[in-house]
Symmetry: C2
Subunit: 403 residues, 2 copies
Amino acid sequence: MITIDDIRAAQKRIANGVQRTPMPRSDALSDQCDCHVYVKLENLQRTGSFKERGALNKLLQLSPAERLLGVVAASAGNHAQGVAYHARRLGIQATIVMPENSPLVKVRSTRDFGAEVILFGENYDAAYVHAQKIKNEQNRILIHAFDDLEIIAGQGTVGLEIIEEFPTVDAVIIPIGGGGLISGSACAIKTLHPNVRVIGVNIAASPAMKRAIEVGHIIELPAGRTICEGISVRQVGELSFAMTKRFVDDIVTVDDEEVANAILQLLEKEKTVAEGAGAAPMAALLYRSLELAGKNVVICLSGGNINVNLISRIIERGLIKDGRRVQLKVVIPDRPGMLADLLAHVAQASANVLEVQHQRWSRRLTLNETEVSLVLETQGRDHVDSLIQQLEKAGLVASEVEV
Amino acid sequence: MITIDDIRAAQKRIANGVQRTPMPRSDALSDQCDCHVYVKLENLQRTGSFKERGALNKLLQLSPAERLLGVVAASAGNHAQGVAYHARRLGIQATIVMPENSPLVKVRSTRDFGAEVILFGENYDAAYVHAQKIKNEQNRILIHAFDDLEIIAGQGTVGLEIIEEFPTVDAVIIPIGGGGLISGSACAIKTLHPNVRVIGVNIAASPAMKRAIEVGHIIELPAGRTICEGISVRQVGELSFAMTKRFVDDIVTVDDEEVANAILQLLEKEKTVAEGAGAAPMAALLYRSLELAGKNVVICLSGGNINVNLISRIIERGLIKDGRRVQLKVVIPDRPGMLADLLAHVAQASANVLEVQHQRWSRRLTLNETEVSLVLETQGRDHVDSLIQQLEKAGLVASEVEV
């Protein structure tokens, strides 16, 4: 295990290479959750996540001979970028093995940071096996993503910064994948302020740490599908398991739906971009009963590397849930001008048309009727209801389609 | 006009009510623009923009009698939220007139902050006339959005913070609507460091300040349509005109397309949410020749209050431009199984199907052909080209549709 001294040493070592990230208060979240919420913005690190803290701490401790050998790492993307970025800065050759389905944004950035990227396997664990093979065949230094003392000490600087800046914090919520971030951070927090509660968050599809703690030993889970690829790990590390057992108070799980809602709220209210893993602590605060009323709470937004098409999907789903995007079916007489009439009513109600479809062959329709399907952008549930009423007054029966 | 002393007094006055926002370095932007770029994150203010600085400075200087009268303001949304939020904190009744087409997110927040919101008129200027009417009829204090000494002194604290934290800055790029932010900020910057270049950015659809400076007096422009409603003003203020003339070095314009690209890059690379006005300085840095090679540059991200459906649209457009979303038309023989065959090829190429349409009645088709239109999610241009080649090998002619 490591101690606070290792984390302090790491903090000094990496000070010039990583950002001391801001931790603004969120008024919106504070109101909503009835406590004082601060968000540690690790997504503002240069590579978009906390992972470079550990990577840099590790790389800086390689001997000149080791540096010449080059490094290899396996990662779903954030460790990849952290290693690639700092290896280039230090003039070290880096090869990164990433799962084949890694988000494009992470693959691109890792290549842009100058690393050789090999796409291999279906998940982190498969990529890791391949990275070990490369290490052996090419005699490189393997930079483990989490089960390594120097990596854990580096990640622990997140917790150290939190507690240094905010000594009156009552609880810190941190995502858990392999367990590096929470191990180091909980060590720093609990050593300096034993009464601060440290809450870990697993994604429901891959709760490797939660299960391991429950059964008392490390277990291997089947691979899970989740939008939180950053914390989707089938098996935690030995070091991180031991440290989590010792320093972490609770572990809760959240599901993808809850995480997607949290990502959307972080965009709308906090003006910040979180990836799935990064939004998991906020999801836990929103949807689990953590008994934090009136407390000072820090949620660790660990990273922001998310494909923009996933953001777009999450927004679209959110708009649908919110009644701000609806699909209406309206039956109209099948004669010229009727579609124009319908659309005039829609325009008058200030709803914006996104899609129009026209069909005649439903068995529910008579021969002189046609059904129009409209996808509309509206201002919310009330607006939709009043639009439907306006259409009814005009003799048009509209029904909302479940989407 | 105001002086640095007024801005310093404002800074002291509002210190407990507004955030001192972070200003991280952007490595990605720095590389791209060949200079050292820092982003002043005013979108992290509680109401999502810098506007509350001026609003709070003004409200704090009302006499007890004036506070009792209540306040009225006109705003496209950010000044609205700033006034509403701090009026509630100070126990002052606030009425805000917003243009009818104001972004929903801004209208909602202003109401949530406890203000009475009146939607009136097509643009800021029309809303302002209505606010004046309310002021006269109801004997309220009008809080102008920009043409007011105390408002300008408050907004100037943005520039003061920049220059205090980063005295070696060479240029600061600031959006211009009515001109309050740039007037105060340029005054602070130029007074303390006369050699720092202050560059203003107008939106091409509403360049009220640029035109006024060019012709030497304030003019009224026709209303322009833009996604930058925050800086879409038909006529600048007298104070802000005089101060801009004195303190600002250059004014450039950017268009909506450039701003949309900047919003997307801020999301993908900086993990932060900008509204149109807030992204305008970044657009100027990306698309205008500002001769800043090797310089220390601060771009002022003035606000982040943007409707999420606009974010989603910008992402979709960006994906299309990037070749990451394409529409293909493929002519296939009209017999059972052919669509399944086509989709199997698409799946093998790892492209994700978003939409499928099938049509038979084009004159270009023979009687036993059918045309399939596919909307696909891909990894970019190269991926699309290789998919089209794979389909050709299978005897299927696919053509990309311009979207």
